[in-house]
């Protein structure tokens, strides 16, 4: 059995498994609203918002790969542009679902597309995501079209793709840096508030999205010849490694500043992240699985496509932990001391561990993301390269 076939079977098994089990969570969400979620009024955002920034980051990272293909003409990723668009679209759909189910009135969110409050970073998000979605669809269309025509027409489409690609660079910076801004703008939360967060978000997005693409490209092999494939994987591995190092420098700087004089500001929150109840999220899921093992694979086994793909999967998957560690700790401090005991209710507490239905709904969304990709891959001529001149 070819790798692609095995990949297909495995992914479809996951889609069905996650879909069936996760569906229960979705039903709970729509039947009972937010009652069975673990977040409340003092920790208003939880797993779904973390998953939203995780997925939108993956999307931005995939977009970066397509920019390399069409704007910077990087030979190693010449054949993967269309697949990158597809990954970007699938993860964008997932991100929108994740933020959608988190809203109290999801259907009302449509009005944000044409009448947002532009003094709100979240209002901007609605505009930017709409623009991003439209851009992605147009780009994918032209990327497919490019392979189907020849001569002057193909040249013209190439130019269009360059223009669209250039336009998507500031767009990606705006919408993902903007997500960082959603958090960084909140003066009430010192852990989030600051100019670094949008940059950290961007670096994380490019890293996680690039990493995911290592795995996708490995399994579904858009490059045909062995040599081409190896070059592509080595290039993707190197890019991911560089981004991983950059991301870790940024993280180190954050931890260093946050903990150095721990008596001040968010020092105690870092203490909680590093040594609190959920220490394993940082040390095991993020540092061990998401940084150290991939670092080893991407350096010692840089020439092995399988190792690069595994490193990519570990980074991309465990990045949800990074997102959780940005979102949740920011809300752990009461704004006024003693408020948690002033009026007692399960929704008025300062602790958070996602409930089972939250995980289920998230897995359902992951299943949808994978299904969009698989179906898109099947019905769109993603592999078509005939006609290239």
């Amino acid at each position: 059995m070819t790798r692609e076939k095995m990949g297909n079977i495995l992914v479809w098994i996951l889609i069905i498994g996650f879909g069936v089990w996760g569906f229960q969570g979705m039903v709970d969400r729509f039947a009972n609203g937010h009652v069975n979620t673990a977040y409340g009024s003092y920790i208003p955002w939880g797993l779904w918002i973390s998953a939203y920034i995780w997925l939108i980051g993956l999307s931005a990272g995939a977009l970066m790969i397509s920019v390399m293909t069409y704007v910077f003409n990087v030979k190693a990723v010449k054949k993967v542009g269309k697949m990158a668009f597809l990954v970007a679209i699938a993860t964008l759909v997932g991100a929108m679902m994740s933020v959608g189910i988190d809203l109290g009135h999801p259907l009302r969110a449509f009005k944000l597309i044409y009448d947002p409050n532009l003094s709100s970073m979240m209002g901007w998000m609605a505009v930017l995501y709409s623009a991003y979605f439209v851009t992605l669809c147009i780009e994918l269309y032209f990327a497919i079209r490019k392979e189907q025509v020849r001569g002057e027409k193909q040249k013209a489409i190439k130019k269009i793709l360059v223009v669209l690609g250039i336009w998507s660079i500031p767009l990606a910076f705006a919408f993902h840096g903007g997500v960082g801004g959603v958090f960084a703008n909140v003066i009430a939360k010192p852990y989030w508030h600051g100019p670094m967060l949008p940059v950290v978000f961007l670096a994380g997005a490019f890293l996680s999205g690039g990493a995911l693409f290592c795995t996708v490209a490995y399994i579904w092999r858009p490059a045909q010849s062995k040599d081409e494939f190896l070059k592509m994987m080595i290039f993707l591995g190197k890019t991911t490694l560089a981004l991983l190092i950059l991301d870790e420098i940024l993280e180190l700087s954050e931890v260093y500043v946050g903990t150095f004089y721990s008596a001040f500001g968010e020092g105690h929150l870092w203490q909680q992240i590093l040594f609190g109840h959920y220490w394993y999220v940082f040390w095991i899921v993020h540092i061990l699985i998401g940084v150290l093992i991939p670092l080893f694979l991407l350096t010692a086994k840089a020439k092995s496509p399988g190792a690069v793909a595994l490193a990519g999967l570990l980074i991309a998957g465990s990045f949800l932990a990074v997102r959780l560690n940005i979102v949740i700790p920011g809300m752990l401090d009461p704004e006024l001391k003693g408020i948690a005991d002033a009026w007692v209710n399960s929704k008025l507490t300062f602790s958070y561990l996602p409930s089972v239905m939250e995980w289920q709904a998230l897995l359902f969304i992951v299943a949808v993301v994978m299904a969009v990709f698989m179906i898109g891959k099947k019905i769109l001529p993603i592999y078509q390269t005939a006609g290239e001149e």
């Binding site: 009972n32 609203g33 937010h34 009652v35 409340g40 009024s41 003092y42 208003p44 955002w45 988190d102 809203l103 109290g104 009135h105 999801p106 259907l107 009302r108 969110a109 449509f110 009005k111 944000l112 044409y114 009448d115 947002p116 409050n117 003094s119 709100s120 970073m121 979240m122 209002g123 998000m125 609605a126 959603v182 703008n185 909140v186 003066i187 009430a188 939360k189 920011g330 809300m331 009461p334 704004e335 006024l336 001391k337 003693g338 408020i339 005991d341 002033a342 009026w343 209710n345 399960s346 929704k347 008025l348």
Partner: protein
């Protein structure tokens, strides 16, 4: 005109321009989208149409106040009477010329929670939603310990961080200083909950006090009978809000609004009248003869978290 007054008039003007813009967009959207999208999507846009009558105009400029008789002032009278006279005076002025303030005397608060409970009853608050919790705190260390009780309504900040973050323009500051939530526009994203430096907003999760209660019709007063309270409508923002299905205010951000429906009728906020220690005062801070204006000027008056620059309308006295 003072700077503060000017900014309030300015806000009023902004509201008006906002209204015409909303009007235009409303028509535009109805024209374009109405023609293009059918079925379920139209349902999705239905809340947009509700905006025509919920654009804030009905909230900001309620029916004119009809004054009622109050006894003349006498020495030693209950401060409630003085505050009611202050209130009537304020209501005779145009909305942009009054600024509602609350003053809470921490020396008089006994921490009985009567204000929290009466507020919950007035606004029919479900479990998990609270507008005015009373924070209780031990201070000092043994043997020098003390106890502070601090009621925390919404501060109705003059620079409210909860307003600009709202992606749906569902929350704004009225010309009289009250920050309101338009339940029909709020998408329930809870950004404002995070932005408030006083944890003054809570989310309506649609919970009920009778959730999980036993039910045995004819044997004892069961869930159904006891649950009548749960479906009682609240009249916040002078509109009837019934708790049914997933309709607003379920799924919305909620907060203290100084009991707008009461004050517009000349009644003091519920917490003020139920406070057994007479520790809570309310009135028009821009009227130099009002009780709150006098109290705000006292040297031991302070506001919470001045350093975040929110300029709260609620003062404390210690």
């Amino acid at each position: 005109m003072s700077k503060e007054e000017l900014s309030r008039v300015d806000e009023n003007l902004t509201l008006e321009t906002d209204e015409s813009r909303r009007d235009f967009l409303d028509k535009f959207s109805k024209g374009i989208f109405g023609g293009l999208i059918a079925g379920g999507i139209v349902n999705a846009l239905a809340p947009v149409q509700a905006r025509a009558d919920m654009d804030g105009s009905n909230l900001n400029f309620a029916e004119p106040f009809k004054p009622f008789d109050l006894p003349p002032a006498i020495p030693g009278e209950d401060v409630i009477l003085r505050m009611m006279r202050d209130l009537q005076r304020a209501l005779k002025k145009p909305i942009e010329q009054r600024h509602w303030n609350m003053v809470i005397d921490l020396r008089k608060c006994v921490g009985c929670d009567a204000c929290s409970v009466s507020c919950a009853a007035e606004n029919k608050l479900p479990p998990g939603v609270i507008y005015r919790p009373v924070i209780q705190q031990e201070i000092g260390s043994y043997p020098n310990v003390g106890h502070v009780t601090l009621p925390r309504p919404c501060m109705q900040c003059d620079e409210p961080p909860c307003v600009p973050v709202c992606p749906a323009q569902a929350t704004w500051k009225r010309p009289d200083g009250i920050v309101i939530v338009d339940y029909d526009q709020c998408i329930g994203c809870r950004y404002c909950l995070n932005a408030c430096p006083y944890d003054a907003r809570t989310f309506d999760f649609g919970m009920e006090y009778i959730d999980g209660a036993a039910d045995a019709p004819k044997v004892f007063l069961g869930k159904e009978k006891a649950g009548k309270y749960e479906t009682e409508a609240s009249y916040e923002y002078e509109k009837e809000w019934k708790r049914e299905d997933d309709k607003s205010p379920i799924g919305n951000a909620r907060k203290c609004h100084f009991c707008i429906p009461r004050i517009e009728k000349g009644m003091l906020p519920e917490c003020v009248v139920t406070c057994i220690g007479r520790a809570t005062y309310f009135g028009d801070g821009s009227d130099p003869d009002s009780l709150v204006a006098e109290l705000i000027a006292s040297p031991n008056a302070f506001r919470l978290k001045e350093e975040v620059g929110t300029h709260p309308s609620v003062y404390y006295i210690k």
